[in-house]
Amino acid sequence: GAGVSQSPRYKVAKRGQDVALRCDPISGHVSLFWYQQALGQGPEFLTYFQNEAQLDKSGLPSDRFFAERPEGSVSTLKIQRTQQEDSAVYLCASSLTSPRDLITGELFFGEGSRLTVL
């Protein structure tokens, strides 16, 4: 597709349910990031992939959060036993190369998946 696609756009879960959020990056993009954006806040880093390798998962808030990118393209963020504090917009972003390369590393964001935990 032309841009980063995320699904579902909206998800309502009951506390304790498991959820899976999907990110389709721009084709050919090597780097993929997940961010969590709580209401009225800036995005906070969750995890980073380079192809299929998860190079940084230091931002995952607990072991209930798990992310994967098995074939180096589509990524899934899974949240087990959801809690109310997990309610947020989950943003996915991808870049052709490392974001440290200013020529080809521009990050492109998806529209996000808004998770509401009741």
Binding site: G3, Y35, G42, P43, L55, D56
Partner: protein
Amino acid sequence: AQTVTQSQPEMSVQEAETVTLSCTYDTSENNYYLFWYKQPPSRQMILVIRQEAYKQQNATENRFSVNFQKAAKSFSLKISDSQLGDTAMYFCAFMSLQGGSEKLVFGKGTKLTVNP
């Protein structure tokens, strides 16, 4: 750890006027990147402008320019000739060039409203 502070939760400006959004950051590093991102209502975040810390010249991108004061750790965004389409949340962000992490550290954002 680096932190980014945006002290203006909300700002408004009249169409065609100029507005400046503030951003300060805290780091002990000498080389890094700084960014301004725009997030329109219900739409994806897009890059507005970026600055390399090792470049003294302030970055400009059409109506958008920055005032980068490295010693003061300040990185403000100036929007000239404001347009209705500039209405959005604006986030300042920092990227370290040290270590293995390539994450962005964002501020809390400034909500800008451009009035007709």
